[in-house]
Symmetry: C2
Subunit: 202 residues, 2 copies
Amino acid sequence: MLRYSLYNEDQIREPDLPESYGSENSSAADNQQERLIKIGWITGYVDGEGCFSINLVRQPHRYNRRGYKTGFQVAHEFAVTQGASSLESLHLLVKFFDVGNVYINKRYDNHKEHLHRYCVRTREELVKTIIPFFEQYPLRTSKQGNFLKFAECMDLMGTGAHLTSSGLIKIVEIAATMNHKKPRTEIIRILRDYTPDTDPHR
Amino acid sequence: MLRYSLYNEDQIREPDLPESYGSENSSAADNQQERLIKIGWITGYVDGEGCFSINLVRQPHRYNRRGYKTGFQVAHEFAVTQGASSLESLHLLVKFFDVGNVYINKRYDNHKEHLHRYCVRTREELVKTIIPFFEQYPLRTSKQGNFLKFAECMDLMGTGAHLTSSGLIKIVEIAATMNHKKPRTEIIRILRDYTPDTDPHR
């Protein structure tokens, strides 16, 4: 699996962080230490609060879009969720990865604070930035298994698997084993029964 | 606040980790990188899953123990909780800090897995190992505020504050602002009303 990596050895050693972290002397060596600690912090934080997910969204009326030929869109997302009081930590992720955004998920029940989510959703940002980072710096909890499945689904999409029913079934079967999900027998049944000649745009 | 720190500069630079992490070449520089990434991972993981807590436990019949003169024991704990599937990540913490243990918290309702908790509870281990680590490598979420309050309570205990009602009230008032706790007006009222002459052991 050959991917472009944002974080090769030279870049790690480069003192490119403006912030000072735990030290008043911001020499190059300190900055390198700081960068490695921050890289580690991201892996630990994602082990705690992160989620890699693959979902299928029905798009029955948009067969003319290349990606939705099967009647389904594959929605891929990397997200980290946190309460409003720790919003700043999500902006650290935006700043570090330089992709993705923070969205608010307002809660009006008796929860104490709104939720915020750092999300990366575009395939390009996931494949070029997020996946190479976690390939280089693996997670240390069972989320690593989800990450590997997520990366496998993105690889399959890179070969166009999601454009055919059989390929999409493969993706759905992998996704069904992620994040304690329920089996998606209904979607797989629909995809198995799919007859392309009902699609006027093919 | 002067404390013994396990992790001075020399120790960080020392290649003392047996495991290889993301590299087959385990040179000293690699080991140093690995150690910094692991330090960062711990701060991120604790930002996600960790908890510093101070609780008061009634000990009405143990006035003869030096620490329980007020009728209360201060229970101090650093804990990281995780599902059984990520148990290994908690053992990483035991190995790294060389203090604390992992306990099981069995769940028999409809949850998918038992919970496990990495806990450090003794004052010595908290003061000599856990607190100096997080002073040197700060958390990046709102848990940092809880940590600082926790360390302040432990400092107060270091001066014997918990042995008097007025000192214990100070600790309880700080603890009441940690971890979204409810105000502990009841305990504070009991402590304010406390009359030492009801205690036969004083």
